[in-house]
C-alpha cells in the first residue's frame, strides 16, 4: 500500500472520531455535562443505520433482526439511514437526559455509563433485535459497486467531480483564510484564480460573501469543471496532479502561516526532534534480534526524551516554544515518513526512476495507483503508472464533507447566544436560573445535539466497518473520545479534529511499528499501546490540562 492509501484510511477514522468527539465536546466542553456513556448513542446510530440498509432477515441464514428496510425504495438508502440514525440517537439522548440530567456531574457520568452498557447488553442478549451476539453484516456502502470508477461513462466523471469539489472547497476555504497572512507569496492572486473569480463575492456583506460560501461555490465550480473535462477528454492523471498539487500548496502555506512566529533555531530544534524520532526507530527494520532492536529503540527514544526534557528545562528559548517545536517535529517526522521512507528502497538500488515513480504516487494522493485495473499512463522519466479512483477516496470525500458541515454548524451554534447560555450553564447554573433561563431545557437540548452527533458518527462507522458487533461498542470508545477531547482542548471544536488526528496517528504508527516484530511479540505490543495511551492521558491531564489548543473562548461574533 502506498503511503497515501495509509493516510486515506487514517483520515476516514479521524473523521468518524472527529464527529463523535464533537458530540462529546458539545456535552462536556461547552455545557459541562460529563457523559461517560457517549458510546451508547454511537451504538444507537450505528445499528439504526445498518437496519435501514440491510435487506430483510433470513432465518435460514441464521440472521434475525427486528426490521431490514434495505429493499424498500428511498427509505432503504444510506441518506435516509444516516438521517434516521442521527434523529433516533438524538431522541434517545433526550430520553436518557430527562431522568438523569438533574444529577450532579460525577453521578451523571456514572449513570450514563450504565445506560451505555445496558444498550450494549440489549444488543447482545435480545437476539431478535439486531442479530444478538453475532455480527450484523450483509450490507455494502453506497455506490461501492461503481468503483473503481470507469471514466468512459457519465457516472465516473460525475463522482470524481464530487471528490474534486470537496477537496477543492476545503483547500480553497483554507486558502481564503490564509490569503492575507503571508506577504512573500502572491496568495491573493492564487486565491482569485482558484475561486474562479468568485473571490469578488467577499465584497458582499450578506451570507453569500462569507468565506465558507465562497469556498463551497469554488469547490462546486471545480467539481463541474472536472466533470466536463473528464467527459470531453480523458485527462484523469492531469486533473489528479493539479488537485493534489493545489492541496499540497495550501498545506504548505498553512504550515508556514501557523509557524510564522518561529525563528530559524526553533525550526531547527523541531526538525532535529522529528529526525531524532526517525533515527531512534531505525533499529527496528535494520537489526535482526528482537531483544537488541527493542533495547536500541527504547534507549534511543529515552535519550531523545531526556534531551528534549533537558532543553525545555535548561534553555529558556526552547521552553517558550516547547509544544510548538514538538508540533514541528511531528510534522517533519510525518513528512519524512511520507516522502522519504518509501523511496529509500529504490534509491538504495540506484533505481532513480522507480524512486521518482513512488514519490509521484504519494504526491498525487487524490488517485490510487497500482493494481491491474485502471487507466495506464506512460510518463516521461518516471515510467508507467496504472491509476484509478478507488472507493476509499470517494468515501473520505463524503466523510470530510459531513465533518466540515457539522463542524461549521456547531461553530455557528457555540458562537451564538445559545452557546453563551451553554457556557453560562457550565460556569454556574444558579446564575442562569437567576437570569430567567431554565438550565434544564438547555441541558436537554445539549444532550440531544451531542447524542445526535454521536449517532451520525455511528452511522458513518457502520458504513466504514461494513459489519457491526456489540463488542465494538464497549465503554472504551467513550474513553478514547474523552482522551481525544482532553488532548485537543476541552471546549474547542478545532481541538477535536487535532485530538482525533493525534490519537489515530498514534494507533497507525504503533500498528506499523508492531509489524517489525514477530507475531508473538506483536500481540503484546498491541496490548501495551493501551497502557501507553493511558499514560498519555495522564500526561496530558497533568501537563496540559487545557489541551493542546486550549479552550476556545473567542467572543460571539456580532
Amino acid at each position: 500500500m502506498a503511503a497515501s492509501d495509509v493516510v486515506i484510511s487514517f483520515m476516514l477514522l479521524v473523521s468518524i472520531y472527529g464527529i463523535l468527539s464533537l458530540g462529546l465536546n458539545v456535552k462536556y466542553g461547552h455545557t459541562g455535562l460529563l457523559d461517560f456513556g457517549h458510546v451508547g448513542f454511537y451504538l444507537v446510530g450505528a445499528y439504526t443505520a445498518a437496519l435501514f440498509v440491510l435487506g430483510p432477515d433470513d432465518p435460514t441464514d441464521f440472521t434475525a433482526y427486528v426490521v431490514g428496510l434495505g429493499d424498500v425504495p428511498v427509505i432503504g438508502t444510506w441518506a435516509v439511514a444516516i438521517l434516521a440514525a442521527t434523529i433516533l440517537a438524538g431522541i434517545v439522548g433526550g430520553l436518557v437526559a430527562l431522568p438523569t440530567i438533574r444529577l450532579r456531574e460525577d453521578y451523571l457520568a456514572i449513570t450514563v455509563l450504565g445506560v451505555s452498557v445496558i444498550f450494549q447488553r440489549v444488543i447482545q442478549s435480545e437476539t431478535w433485535l439486531a442479530n444478538g451476539p453475532d455480527a450484523l453484516r450483509g450490507y455494502s456502502p453506497p455506490l461501492q459497486s461503481l468503483f473503481p470508477l470507469a471514466m468512459d461513462t457519465m457516472v465516473g466523471p460525475a463522482l470524481f467531480g464530487l471528490i474534486v469539489a470537496v477537496v477543492w472547497a476545503i483547500a480553497t476555504g483554507a486558502l481564503g483564510r490564509l490569503r492575507d497572512g503571508d506577504s512573500r507569496l502572491p496568495l491573493s492572486a492564487v486565491y482569485a484564480v482558484t475561486t474562479f473569480g468568485l473571490a469578488r463575492l467577499h465584497r458582499r456583506t450578506d451570507g453569500l460573501g462569507s468565506l465558507p460560501t465562497v469556498g463551497a461555490l469554488a469547490g462546486l465550480v471545480a467539481g463541474l469543471l472536472s466533470f466536463a473535462v473528464l467527459v470531453a477528454v480523458d485527462p484523469l492523471l492531469t486533473l489528479g496532479v493539479l488537485v493534489s498539487l493545489y492541496t499540497w500548496f495550501v498545506a504548505l502555506v498553512a504550515v508556514a502561516h501557523h509557524y510564522r512566529h518561529l525563528g530559524l533555531r526553533e525550526w531547527a530544534v523541531g526538525v532535529a526532534l522529528g529526525t531524532g524520532l526517525l533515527v531512534s526507530l531505525l533499529p527496528l527494520p535494520v537489526v535482526e534480534s528482537v531483544g537488541l532492536k527493542s533495547a536500541l529503540t527504547l534507549g534511543l527514544l529515552g535519550a531523545l526524551v531526556v534531551a528534549y526534557y533537558l532543553a525545555v528545562t535548561r534553555v529558556e528559548w526552547v521552553a517558550a516554544v516547547k509544544l510548538t517545536v514538538v508540533g514541528v517535529g511531528a510534522l517533519w517526522f510525518v513528512a519524512l515518513w511520507y516522502f522519504l521512507l518509501p523511496i529509500l528502497g529504490p534509491l538504495g538500488d540506484g533505481d532513480i526512476a522507480a524512486a521518482l515513480n513512488t514519490l509521484f504516487q504519494n504526491v498525487v494522493w487524490v488517485l490510487q495507483f497500482g493494481g491491474d485495473v485502471g487507466i495506464d499512463y506512460a510518463v516521461v522519466v518516471i515510467g508507467d503508472l496504472t491509476t484509478k479512483v478507488d472507493y476509499s477516496r470517494f468515501q473520505l470525500a463524503g466523510f470530510v464533507l459531513f465533518l466540515a458541515g457539522l463542524y461549521y454548524a456547531l461553530e455557528l451554534t457555540v458562537k451564538s447566544p445559545f452557546g453563551r447560555v451553554l457556557r453560562a450553564v457550565r460556569n454556574d447554573e444558579t446564575v442562569v436560573k437567576s437570569l430567567g433561563k431554565d438550565p434544564f431545557v438547555y441541558k436537554v437540548q445539549t444532550m440531544v445535539l451531542g447524542s445526535a452527533l454521536g449517532g451520525f458518527a455511528g452511522a458513518l462507522w457502520a458504513m466504514y466497518a461494513q459489519g457491526l458487533t456489540f463488542t465494538t461498542f464497549a465503554p472504551r470508545i467513550t474513553f478514547i473520545t474523552l482522551l481525544i477531547m482532553f488532548l485537543g482542548g476541552v471546549g474547542n471544536n478545532k481541538g477535536m479534529l487535532l485530538g482525533a488526528g493525534i490519537f489515530w496517528a498514534f494507533q497507525q504508527a504503533t500498528t506499523q511499528l508492531a509489524s517489525f516484530f514477530p507475531p508473538a511479540v506483536r500481540v503484546n505490543i498491541q496490548a501495551f499501546r493501551l497502557v501507553v495511551i493511558g499514560v498519555l492521558f495522564l500526561l496530558v491531564l497533568y501537563y496540559v490540562p487545557e489541551g493542546l489548543l486550549g479552550r476556545d473562548e473567542r467572543e460571539v461574533d456580532g
Binding site: V66, D206, T413, F418, R426, S434, L435, D438
Partner: protein, 322 residues
C-alpha cells in the same frame, strides 16, 4: 407611596433545627427603595432566597404583583401537556416494539400494547406530577419564572461567570433573545446577528455606566471583588426588571463609586424600578432607603423611615449593640 409590589406574609423556613425565617411579614412598595437590615443570622439572605424562588418556603405566602409566587412558578398547562404527551409517545413506542419483538404479536394486539404503553407513560407522568404537588404542598422551585416576570436578585457572594468575559456576562442576561433558540442559530442568522449587535451595544453602555468598561474583555473571574459586585448589578439591570433584590451591593466597592452607585440606584428608583437592599453599611442604607425593615431572629423587628430606625431602642439593642 403606591401599592405594594411584593407582599410577604408569615414566611417561614427552617434548616434542620434552625429556624432561619420565622413568620416574617412585610410589604415592599412599588417604586421605593426598601432596606433590609439586621444582625448576622437574622434571616435576611434566606428571606431573599425565598422571595426570589431559590428556596421553597415551609410556610407563608409571598405575593409579587398580587400573584402568589408559587402560582407564577407553577408549570404552565402546555408544559404539562408537552411532557405528558412525550412520556406517552415514548412509552407507547416501547410498548409497540416490545409487542412486535419479544412478544411476537401481530399488528392488532401490538397496537394494543402500544396504546397500553402510551396510557402508562402519560398517566405515569401526570400521576407523578400530582404526587409531587401533594407531597411538597404546592411549592415549585423554578426561580427563572420569577426572573422572567421581572423579579431579579443578586447574590451576597458574587456569582460571576468566571470563564466568560465581563461583556459576555452582561450579554447573557436579556430575556428572550432569538439566538438562544438552537434552530435560530442555523436558520435565522441575520436576525440573530442584528439582535446581538443591539444587545452588545446595551451591554457596553452598561459597562460604561458602571465604570468597568476597561475590563470589558477580561474573564470575570479575574475581576476584583468590587468589580464583580458591579458586574452583577449590571447583569440584573440588563434584564429590565421591576423589582430588584440586591444582597450587599456595595460591599467591597470603593467609596466614590459607592456614591455613584447610590445615585444610580436612586435615579432608577425615580424611573419606576423597585429595590430591596440588604446592606451592612449603615451610612449607605440610611441614606438610600425610603423604608427600612429591621429583622432579628427570623422575624421583622421594626419597620420605618431611616430616622425612626436610627432612634429605635429595640433596633439599637438588637443590632447596633449599644
Amino acid at each position: 407611596m403606591s401599592d405594594p409590589i411584593l407582599e410577604v406574609e408569615d414566611l417561614r423556613k427552617t434548616f434542620g433545627g434552625i429556624v432561619a425565617v420565622d413568620g416574617a411579614t412585610f410589604d415592599i412598595a412599588e417604586g421605593s427603595i426598601t432596606g433590609l437590615i439586621g444582625p448576622n443570622g437574622a434571616g435576611k439572605t434566606t428571606t431573599f432566597n425565598l422571595i426570589s424562588g431559590f428556596y421553597e418556603p415551609d410556610g407563608g405566602v409571598v405575593r409579587y404583583d398580587g400573584r402568589d409566587l408559587q402560582e407564577i412558578m407553577r408549570p404552565h398547562r402546555d408544559e404539562t401537556v408537552i411532557w405528558g404527551g412525550a412520556s406517552g409517545i415514548t412509552a407507547g413506542t416501547l410498548g409497540g416494539v416490545v409487542g412486535l419483538g419479544p412478544l411476537g404479536l401481530s399488528a392488532a394486539p401490538a397496537l394494543g400494547t402500544t396504546l397500553a404503553g402510551a396510557a402508562l407513560g402519560a398517566g405515569g407522568y401526570l400521576a407523578k406530577q400530582r404526587l409531587t404537588q401533594r407531597r411538597s404542598g404546592h411549592t415549585n422551585s423554578r426561580p427563572y419564572m420569577l426572573a422572567r416576570d421581572g423579579l431579579v436578585r443578586t447574590f451576597q457572594l458574587t456569582r460571576e461567570l468566571g470563564e466568560m468575559t465581563a461583556l459576555e456576562n452582561l450579554m447573557l442576561a436579556p430575556q428572550g433573545q432569538a439566538g438562544e433558540n438552537l434552530a435560530n442559530t442555523w436558520f435565522r442568522r441575520d436576525a440573530v446577528h442584528e439582535e446581538e449587535a443591539t444587545v452588545r451595544a446595551r451591554a457596553e453602555e452598561m459597562l460604561e455606566l458602571l465604570e468597568i468598561e476597561h475590563v470589558r474583555d477580561e474573564p470575570a473571574g479575574n475581576l476584583s471583588g468590587g468589580q464583580r459586585k458591579l458586574l452583577e448589578l449590571g447583569r440584573v439591570l440588563m434584564l429590565e426588571p421591576r423589582l430588584i433584590l440586591l444582597d450587599e451591593p456595595v460591599a467591597g466597592v470603593n467609596p466614590s463609586l459607592t456614591k455613584k452607585l447610590m445615585a444610580r440606584i436612586e435615579r432608577l428608583r425615580d424611573e419606576g424600578y423597585t429595590f430591596c437592599i440588604v446592606e451592612h453599611d449603615m451610612e449607605v442604607i440610611m441614606e438610600l432607603s425610603d423604608t427600612i425593615i429591621v429583622m432579628n431572629e427570623g422575624k421583622k423587628l421594626v419597620e420605618g423611615q431611616p430616622e425612626e430606625i436610627r432612634n429605635d431602642d429595640a433596633v439599637i439593642e438588637a443590632y447596633l449593640g449599644v
